[in-house]
């Protein structure tokens, strides 16, 4: 039968609890895996050392190094998955992802231009952020009627979607242009940035703040997002400020995408596949979907990144290639399950 109210609450606690454990396990797994394996017996001592800010043993310093990278992967994956959930609710389309509106393509233009100019890493990150912000602003200006919504005659978001798709094509044309004129020296960096790569990304505080803020916004809007996903424009007759909610979803998912892309380049499929898989497993209710997508997205990217740096070590693969290789078949499988 249908879940009654306290059962739904207990079920959510169970799901989020298990995913939290799984996420911790993923980060630790990533910490012990690599060219030099940390033995399981050494793990408790190493964890204790790292938590106390000491790295006396080899195990502890390996763990600190790898777990740092794993945490970066986690925050990036979590942000992408959450942005995906929001974008899908905003566009009422389960096939939307954070990149569909061209925000990441804008970031690519900025980052690749900086790479072409042989700029420092910090400048590349700044340029990526600037590109993402520029595309968001342009998108908002062009499609503001859709985003405000609420009292429009049709009330769909097709203008927003189409504008985004066209902006993305324009950005991708610029990207192709830059790649074709790039000198050999910077080409490899540029391609890796495009695919999405977490190697050499330092552990920063800002992405965590962005993710925490966005998560707080999403959880507070979770019920309203359900109503919007169910009723589209008539959500207004149920007391939802449709325009304000759409605006919030647009901006918060934009900031999340910009933050994730600045961190790790445009890593594909996480924002599409993780919300999908969570919806498939736990149902479409955003009150469960939002926390579970963040945790699952983070864990997924941690595992993919671990694979990326170990599968043909010492060569490191860009993690975006791994997410796409794993993501595409999973997505196709789910799609055909749904069609049955």
């Amino acid at each position: 039968m249908h879940p009654v109210h306290h059962a739904a609450r207990r079920r959510t606690t169970m799901i989020v609890g298990s995913l939290l454990l799984a996420a911790t396990a993923c980060v630790l797994f990533s910490g012990v895996t690599g060219s030099v394996t940390v033995a399981l017996g050494e793990l408790p001592d190493a964890v204790a050392q790292v938590l106390h800010g000491r790295q006396d043993s080899l195990a502890a310093s390996l763990l600190a190094l790898r777990a740092g990278r794993a945490l970066t992967a986690f925050v990036t994956g979590g942000a992408l998955a959450l942005a995906g959930v929001m974008m899908q609710a905003l566009l009422r389309n389960p096939l939307a992802d954070p990149y569909v509106l061209g925000i990441s393509a804008g970031a690519s233009v900025g980052a690749l231009f900086a790479l072409l100019m042989m700029c420092a890493t910090a400048v590349v990150d700044g340029a990526a952020l600037a590109g993402a912000v520029a595309v968001s602003m342009l998108l908002y200006l062009l499609a503001r009627r859709d985003i405000r919504g609420g009292v429009a005659a049709e009330g769909g978001t097709s203008t927003l979607l189409l504008t985004g798709v066209i902006l993305m094509s324009a950005c991708m044309a610029l990207v192709t242009l830059m790649l074709s004129i790039a000198p050999e020296g910077s080409l490899r960096n540029m391609v890796f940035w495009m695919i999405g790569d977490l190697a050499g990304t330092p552990l920063r505080v800002l992405p965590w703040i962005v993710l925490a803020g966005a998560l707080a916004f999403a959880l507070r809007s979770a019920r309203a997002m359900n109503v919007l996903a169910l009723h589209a424009d008539t959500a207004r007759t149920l007391g939802i400020e449709v325009g304000r909610l759409r605006k919030g979803l647009f901006f918060v998912s934009g900031v999340l995408t910009a933050s994730a892309v600045t961190n790790g380049g445009s890593i594909g499929f996480v924002g599409l596949i993780v919300p999908h898989a969570c919806r498939f497993a736990f149902g479409p209710d955003h009150r469960v979907l939002i926390p579970s997508a963040v945790l699952a997205g983070g864990s997924f990217l941690v595992l993919c990144d671990t694979l990326a740096r170990t599968v043909i070590a010492p060569t490191q693969l860009p993690v975006g290639a791994i997410t796409a290789l794993i993501g595409a078949p999973i997505f196709l499988y789910q799609l055909h399950q749904l069609r049955k």
Partner: protein
């Protein structure tokens, strides 16, 4: 309950309704009748607060629609859209529970009273057995009844319905519209609905509003307004009326001589 003053509706330069003065009292059941494109849905959306006003005013309980906080308004009036698209795999009970949103304030989860209301509404629409089903797998008529169940669960004094009998089989057309009429009579609820079945409208409505689509309108009790000559004029096709077992039956006139 709800009233319009000098309300004028324009769509793409065409005036559909001009200077509509319409007053609806509690316990009344109204049918809006008119041909396609006469502005029925536009009027209902306007009264629901989903559309900006071009000219005139709409008041609910003596207060302008724009002055109502949305959540408070959602506890006073419910609106059934003509059609809906389901993008996600929500269950039928989820869609009905979502109609309890205006009663939740800041709570994250629904309470047991919400579940009670949702289950009752589903049972009233004879779709209780579909509670756990994915709404995208329901038939058109089942989906329509789940949507009306959501409207009932919203538990408002004013119900605005755009073609509630859409996609329903004959038996359910009668039972659903009968239920709406009972809500008016027994619980003093106010119903405004759009429908194309004149006989159904005549048997359950207390009042009718005719729209011609050129700005003219006619509102009043069913006995006054639902006359064959008037209906024929407003619908653009001659209508005949026959009495059968104490009921008035309207049928479109057919010319068999050509």
């Amino acid at each position: 309950m709800i009233a319009t003053h000098k309300l004028t509706l324009q769509v793409e330069g065409r005036t559909l309704v001009r200077d509509l003065d319409w007053a609806i009292q509690p316990g009344e059941c109204w049918s809006i009748i008119g041909r396609n494109g006469a502005g029925k849905s536009t009027l209902l959306r306007t009264v629901a607060g989903l559309r900006k006003l071009e000219a005139g005013a709409v008041e609910l309980d003596g207060r302008k629609l724009d002055d109502w906080p949305l959540e408070e308004l959602a506890r006073r009036r419910a609106y059934l859209a003509q059609s809906r698209t389901d993008a996600f795999a929500y269950s039928a009970i989820d869609t009905v529970l979502s109609a309890r949103h205006p009663y939740h304030a800041k709570r994250y989860w629904e309470g047991s009273d919400d579940h009670q209301a949702a289950l009752q509404a589903l049972a009233a629409m004879e779709v209780g057995h579909l509670a756990a089903r994915d709404v995208r797998t329901l038939s058109g008529g089942e989906r329509q009844r789940v949507a009306i169940a959501a409207l009932l669960a919203q538990d408002t004094p004013l119900l605005l319905l755009d073609e509630p009998a859409n996609a329903l089989d004959l038996a359910h057309q009668v039972s659903v519209t009968g239920l709406l009429a009972r809500l008016c009579r027994r619980e003093r609820k106010t119903v405004v609905m759009i429908g194309h079945d004149l006989n159904l409208a005549h048997s359950i409505s207390t009042h009718a509003l005719l729209l011609r689509g050129d700005g003219s309108w006619l509102a009043g009790p069913v006995a006054q307004v639902m006359q064959p000559a008037l209906l024929g004029d407003y619908l653009g096709h001659p209508i005949e009326m026959i009495e059968h077992g104490g009921r008035r039956i309207f049928i479109p006139f057919e010319d068999h001589h050509d």
